[in-house]
Subunit: 342 residues, 2 copies
């Protein structure tokens, strides 16, 4: 069974006109008589004519659709960012196609290739934690496909980029723990290759330095799957708590990681006698026990900014060479999990 939409030809045949006349009438061209125009418009309305976007894509060599690749949508940060993307895209007449890499470089590549072949006008990319070699993105970019990176960005491709102020966020989270009296603050974070990991680590270090706490490499644990694998986080925590420099607080990076880490922590240490802060955008942090002190990123706005820059790139007449990296401020939300040490 096939789904048969009405075309411009049906209108032309019914009204005994040529398709060109119908097309022009529909687009309100001045070179069509008022009477004819009215007829066409009315008939089109009557049979509920909608132009075929596929035919248009073929003709105009643009699809008015943009591709988004994130690690997973079941992530408060990304789902909010996507809402930001959609809020702008729809108003500007673009359709959004969302794909997930699940932190796998392989899937990221397959999805990106598929989107490119599928004729998206541009790409919004947040890299997976495995994506070390991004030459396939580079190729596409060099061939002229507009790309904007958000959240997990890269130095290797020169284009617009949008992120939260990860350095500042990590700095505030760490300093907050210090203000509350914690001294031995561990940092559980994602893959060391990610831009956000590096930036947050730097912010963490900067806060320690400011308050004259010596940075200890062994207090930083990398979970390269970003919290998707429980055992990875369990192991990191176990190692930390078994060391002689047992931490008295933990600062977690990443939305998914923060959740997983807090869950593992609670299982390992049900009283939670360590301080805890994390990067997350969940609204449910206040319902936790203890309620979560977190760094919240302006995910919605990041999504909006990214799509705006992308559309700008797509619709620009001449090649853009002046690229910008926008950094949006984070917010520290203070609750119980990082309360003053007794």
């Amino acid at each position: 069974m096939r789904f048969e939409p009405v075309t411009i030809k049906d209108i032309a045949k019914a009204l005994n006109l040529s398709t060109s006349t119908v097309s022009r009438a529909l687009r309100g061209s001045h070179e069509i008589g008022a009477e004819t125009k009215k007829q066409v418009l009315e008939y089109a309305e009557e049979i509920n004519y909608r132009p075929n976007p596929i035919a248009l894509s073929l003709k105009e060599r643009r699809s008015r659709s943009i591709g988004v690749i994130v690690t997973e949508i079941a992530n408060n940060y990304f789902s909010q960012a996507i809402n930001g993307i959609e809020s702008i895209a729809y108003n500007r007449g673009y359709h959004v196609i969302i794909t997930q890499s699940h932190e796998s470089m392989e899937r990221e590549m397959v999805n990106v290739q598929h989107l490119a072949n599928r004729g998206v006008d541009g790409l919004l990319v947040s890299l997976s934690s495995e994506s070390i070699d991004i030459s396939y993105l580079k190729d596409l970019h060099e061939k002229g496909l507009p790309i904007v990176f958000f959240d997990r960005i890269t130095d290797e491709i020169e284009t617009h980029k949008v992120t939260a102020d990860n350095h500042q966020g990590a700095f505030h989270a760490t300093e907050h723990l210090i203000f509350q009296g914690y001294k031995r603050i561990a940092h559980i974070t994602s893959s060391p290759y990610l831009s956000i990991t590096k930036e947050r680590l730097e912010g963490y270090k900067a806060a320690l330095k400011k308050h004259h706490i010596k940075f200890d490499e062994s207090m930083v644990k990398y979970c390269s799957h970003g919290g998707m694998i429980n055992s990875e986080v369990d192991e990191a925590l176990n190692t930390l708590f078994k060391s002689k420099m047992k931490p008295d607080a933990i600062f977690a990076g990443g939305d998914r990681l923060t959740m997983t880490c807090f869950g593992c922590l609670k299982r390992l240490n049900p009283k939670i006698d360590v301080g805890f802060t994390g990067f997350t955008n969940t609204k449910t942090g206040e319902l936790f026990s203890p309620s979560l002190t977190v760094i919240k990123q302006p995910a919605f706005e990041i999504g909006q900014t990214a799509i705006e820059l992308l559309i700008q790139l797509i619709e620009s007449k001449r090649p853009v060479t002046d690229f910008q990296t926008k950094v949006l401020p984070t917010e520290l939300i203070i609750r119980e999990s990082a309360m003053k040490k007794k």
Copy 2:
């Protein structure tokens, strides 16, 4: 700047062949000489030729893409269902386009129309809470567009449907509260028009009846925005707690609603001296205070089942008339929030 992919014409020109020959060679037709075929294949590989899916869509009037519409992806249930959908779709060579209605009938309609025009081969639909009039879906369905409903289904369109066993889930949740000694169990739920609302209400009623508790209409509160608007839930709770038949337990329906409701409850009544259960798929329920007793739906499997049925519809040679409604079992996860009454 424009992104210029290589076409079959480029190959034809370079090799001094016609496009038809190249096309056939590429598809391995037997009526092309071995030598020519090899040439074409090698050259295509060399310049990294990829068929243009848009042109194919136009020609074949199918896009190998399927549209999904859910209320929002920032919902544990839906994001898991989408993962289930993707897991099957990609293996079967279908691309998945996700759209959100945000519980608005208007946006649902716009998205569905867009997807249909965009040439999706089929639709996976979970209705918004506002969708009372679904004639626009009916039209599309009658014109031959394959549709499968999941989660929030409807009687008005005859096709495949997939849901959790909402009656059973609600029954278990309610009975669990009864077993724990609660007597005055209120039910906070979504729009009364939704199938899931009706089914869950029936399950709730059935449990009450079994245990000889009289059903009281005033103990059921409908939040038609499904927990997207805090004040709606606040008001429902306030009314309940101010009534003379003050409830001693609450059973919430819906993922989003359960979260919102628990949040409001905690604000209103920080000690949480009432029992609480809800429908949700979050993995973080155990981190809450008190940890959440919930009904979990097999979201991933529901997504998988739905897409399988849809692909079956799409690829069927003749019109399908034998439709099924699959109902998957739910799971009661017992934690603290519905513990025995002191």
